[in-house]
Symmetry: C3
Subunit: 312 residues, 3 copies
């Protein structure tokens, strides 16, 4: 199986359909572990996983850490605030130094696009991109695809499905990885948002653009709402949160014109009342919490496939 | 045993005498583990415990983490500073998201009274209140009670004992949990402190008020000194630390008029020379360090009873 | 073996030659563990190691944490920012409180020289000095010595070797521990740097002073470059980083006049272009990454020898 992936998981752009399907299948087999009384398998005992986070993230770091521990790996957390990064060490030197401690896998989140690729180049151990700049967040896309696949009854059913991604697409690694991933599985992806948030040339990734969300939602089988970074983009890219919510937030009114069995996703953490209305987030079409559960399973699968647990 | 406790431990107010006694008995049986060469039992292998701390605390977080690890559970730490809490997620959403990762127990500390109760409502896993606002800190009260019980030679001996709690009772979850706990075991609790620190109506919890500490100490079998939050309350609630120490600090002079076998407790960290004099803190009547040791044992007992280790 | 070390490792100054050799031998035997598929031995199962860091350090904390976990010990991290240290607790009280939780070892890093010694005095558990003020950083010196010993083909070969330490010797615990350590093994140590960075009376440690680095390097078998703390010392102790680099930085020009088989060390993190030129840091004489690898092995050896794993 490992040949499908190679040493690292840096982006969905590097995966073919077969690799994606293989990861999803493996993840399904690991979902069972987290549902047991004893949530632990000895598969990766004696492996060292380092979570190297240059940006804070409860959700993603916790998900990777739980995944590692349920596989019996040793998990080490390094966060920027308490690290030598402040002391001005280059990313390359950090990579080489960590490598010298013989880890088996580094999960890296970094504000700069391409940082995980640089690490991967310098390190013999596996590197998983835990989110890099506005570039990719592949484990997020994989868990999103797994969630849709489960709901539809199989990854084959994703072919021809209409996926609508709404929000600040320009600054979203989640959007980028999902466009790539769903497209590779044959889905038709449309992005929507204010023109300031839709990058020029996004169609080259294989998606369509529809600035009118109220219109775009009518055909959607899957609606993925992106998080608005109120703290960063609030003032610059759109007039007010209220106006944004009216035009691009997913509320009961817009949902009314969607298909009856529409699937609603959000990578979290959600801004209730901004990009998604509370009743929609908590409603029956929302699979937001399934996404979180699937996140642990997908990350267990990635550790398993990359760290060669099968070979022991 | 678990019927005595239910799913969560949110406060001493929810426990009856039988439940408290059962926790203490269990804790005693776990004290032995921490005294061994190999301080580990496999009881909670494959269980996931999340320490979710919205307020910093070396002592309490470390105690819960050590307790979890000595039971062989996987412990995950989440602290506010490095978390998505900053991003404005609601507590409910944090609860639901963590729940979706299938933890077995969340230990939560939060500046808002009632936060653990809200988590418990939304989560299927066990929730332990690690201190909420000015409300409760039940594991602290349990370790305090265990410490007194050990010294007196049994929990039955607590009946009729005079417990004096001194300090900022109004802003102390430790005081509140201890008033409830000791009262349920038949002790007679008196609180003392400057009038600005004794809440109106505190008697309704079953205790008496005596503003004159020098007088109150004469009858006390147990004196529990509360920590003065110099950084917060220093300027507002009393004129100077020096004056506070003179009137409500426990020093050799006041101790002189106490019983010969008085027990001195403090939840820590102590302000030497403010609420407790150094020679008193380090003296033979002080059981402050026994409290810390008992803290690990009580927390192991709570994990054991709540996570159903017995059933495996 | 433990008689060689006693309860704690506080400084190289407490070790005799035999003890140093014994640690190095043990470290060599543990290097193998980190190179295996399954990087874990059960030796310290059920032991509790606390990393108590009052100063941030990715490198050292991670190295100790990985070492502890590969020995199967439970590792608990406490960092100042999220700790009760802020609340003004004395170091003694922190020591006594942690001790009451029955740890087996505390690794402590502290800005004050002597802090680990104070902890050791108050604690029954082992204390390892992870760096104290401008005093000592013994595990760093041990890994440096191991690196040189490996390269030379044995610790006996260190006798008579010329070791040159360059930089802010006055403020370097790394320098101090290395002067002591290499001297005890019979090496001849010379220190170099601007006069403001060489403390008066440093010769009493058994080393020589040569302010002219270009001259000193000619005889050196080992050149250890110290990190310049640009953030702290940049403005006070020397005019500009550029001038410092010219006079005391190790670049290709200075390296030209060194021996052909000179060994270059640096405790990291390195400032490329300040105290060491990039091509030198990455060049064939640099053993900087071997130092990092040896750091994990040395720390495993220390845990093994201090925590009495052999006796189980």
């Amino acid at each position: 199986m490992t040949e499908l992936l190679g040493k690292d998981l840096l982006g969905i752009e590097d995966l073919n359909r077969e690799a994606i399907v293989s990861i999803l299948d493996t993840a399904v087999s690991f979902k069972d572990v987290s549902a047991r009384e004893i949530k632990k398998v000895p598969t990766l005992r004696g492996k060292t996983v380092i979570n190297l986070f240059y940006e804070p993230s409860t959700r993603t770091r916790t998900s990777f850490e739980i995944a590692a521990k349920r596989m019996s790996a040793d998990a080490i957390n390094i966060s920027v605030a308490a690290s030598s990064v402040k002391k001005g060490e280059t990313l390359k030197d950090t990579a080489l130094n960590l490598e010298a401690m013989n880890p088996d896998c580094i999960v890296v989140r970094h504000a700069s696009s391409g940082a995980p690729h640089m690490l991967a180049e310098y390190m013999e151990c596996s590197v998983i991109n835990g989110g890099d700049g506005f570039h990719e967040h592949p484990s997020q896309a994989l868990l999103d695809i797994l969630t849709v696949s489960e709901k539809l009854g199989g990854v084959d059913k994703i072919k021809g499905v209409n996926v609508l991604i709404v929000g600040d697409v320009a600054h979203s690694r989640v959007a980028r990885s999902n466009i790539l991933g769903f497209t590779k599985l044959g889905a038709k992806v449309t992005v929507s948002g204010p023109p300031t948030m839709i990058p020029v040339g996004i169609e080259e990734l294989g998606c369509k653009v529809e600035y009118n969300m109220a219109k775009a939602i009518k055909d959607a089988d899957v609606v993925m709402m992106l998080r608005i970074q109120l703290e960063r983009q609030g003032t610059a890219l759109f007039p007010t949160a209220r106006e944004y919510a009216k035009l691009f937030g997913l509320d009961a009114l817009k949902l009314k014109s969607a298909k009856d069995d529409v699937i609603i996703l959000h990578p979290g953490p959600i801004n209730r009342g901004v990009e998604i209305a509370p009743d929609v987030a908590d409603g029956p079409w929302s699979l937001i919490l399934n996404q979180v559960t699937n996140g642990v399973a997908v990350r267990m699968a990635l550790f398993y496939m990359l760290l060669g647990g099968a070979r022991e």
